[in-house]
Amino acid sequence: MKSHPASLPRPGAQGLTQRYGAGLKRRYLLLIALGVATILLGLQAVAVGSYDLSPYKVLLILLGRGEGASEVVVWSIRLPRITAALVTGWGLGLSGLLTQSLLRNPLASPFTLGMSHGAMFGAAFAIVFLGAGSVTTSGLYTSDSGIFMFSRLYAVTLMAFAGAMAATAVILLLARLRRMSAASVILAGVAMSSLFLSGTILVQYFATETEIATVVFWSFGDVARSTWREIGLLAVATLLVSGYFLRRRWDLNALLAGEETAQGLGVNVTTLRLVGMLLASLLVALATSFHGIIAFLGLLAPHISRRLVGGDHRLLVPCSGLVGSLLLLAADTMGRLLVGSGSLPVGVLTSFMGAPLFLYLLLKGNRS
């Protein structure tokens, strides 16, 4: 009868397991180092800016021993912004990884598939037609300072989700029905992006000047505008989605070997893909409705992560999130430091970083 390979004599097998374990441990240590680097950059980011603070003073303020203006700067301005960058970066990095892994397409990301533009269209629709947006122009918060408040926040989020899902549904349907190549799926994403951009322009045509200003400013991509409540909502969603995909990390690994092999290993590929894309859309919708379009981060983070820890989703899921956080925080901090007072929208900087990588991947794909 049946005897299993584990019971067979295997000289050197123990040494092999140990060598493999040591390699895996090294990759986990790299992941921890990345986490520490992100925390250190976060602390540094709190300290630097037009109102400079020493890291020691920052630490005192965080421990509740601060006072005066510096305490307001840290707790009300910098910390929400930095936390928003960390959480949004993690969410976009993770959703980028999910789109790439689930569609088995290295060029996929929320931005290149049109999900971000779908979310933008949905949000613009909510702002203009559902009365979900208004601009606060009090003495403290002027339109120039760019602090916008959405009166009906959840209408924007829900419509952004619907827009992102519409783009996702079209991509999934095309990928399934037509068995399209990786590049063709991205071309479909370009078409979806154009469609949603045109839709957004059409929505703006019917908008008042205030609403246009809200939509345009909102679409810039900026982590400085969210409240603790919004950051909390995004953080909870990101945590839940991360947990779900850490649980499904072996399924994502199995998908690397092909759909039929994954099915043969007990993975329900259709359900995994549908649930995964739905959750990725949710993260993109939340991130986009709170912070606008942050281009290419979802493309950059997984590719950098693969270079660091390889293709194994046990490490790739947390690493893509961490790299996303680190990149967005670095870009936002750079945006603050480059401009004396105020800051550059972070979406502009991520585009500068991401577009060359996208072109490189496209050329690499063509060569292979």
């Binding site: 005897s3 097998a13 690397l256 043969g264 007990g266 390889g310």
Partner: protein, 268 residues
Amino acid sequence: MTLEATDLHFGYNGHEVLRGLNLSLLHGETVGILGVNGAGKSTLLKCLDRILRPSRGVVMVEDQNLAKLGGVEIARLIGYVAQSQEREPLSVFDAVLLGRKPHIQWNATAHDLDVVSGVLTQMGLDHLALRQVASLSGGEAQKVIIARALAQEPHLLLLDEPTSNLDLRNQLEVMELLVGAVRRQGLGAAVCLHDVNLALRYLDRLVLMVQGRVHALITPAELTGQHIREVYGVEAVLAEVEGHRVVIPQASVSHNLASPASHRHTQE
């Protein structure tokens, strides 16, 4: 009995591909599934693993009805090797560790790692364990894929063209490793093959398929030129060369033999 499939039916878009197919397999037995392109060989394997759901019929593996089992439970019984294989961006060890997925709850245990190490050593892949799959040759990559299926510790192996795209030496190596592992571990294996000579040399029984039906279920010793004509529409003779039976197709092939479905009466 490892496998017992009864009255299997399956169709794509109204076109019936499997038409009441029966197949059984014993422990330690290897069966070759032969037939022309489109005869339903790959569809049969997918139906046996429930990657495709048969419209009618029952598949029992180790006396368990697969229709009543979940995907993971089926994966603990059956190791499936697909025809088109991807080079996953993983190390060889990680790629084979994927085979333990149906057994892993949260993380791979020491036992899972031991099984993988054992299979890699058994397949002669231990020296490549930490290399990336993408950097391997075609033959090495195919061995990794078979190693992954063995790491599943299945009772039944289903392999779709495991030697396609391999050179002669690698074809022989892969078949020897495969058949050796199946016999040592007492598994059952159904192998789709295009190469009749490989099937004759290595497998215990042959299922000859024509248009979604079992045309003949024979041992390699029973294969005749008439079978080849009926299944492939090709005139051939069988010869014995150094103890191995081989099929030698005739130099000229009659065009009116091209459709195996209709040749039986015209050729006999």
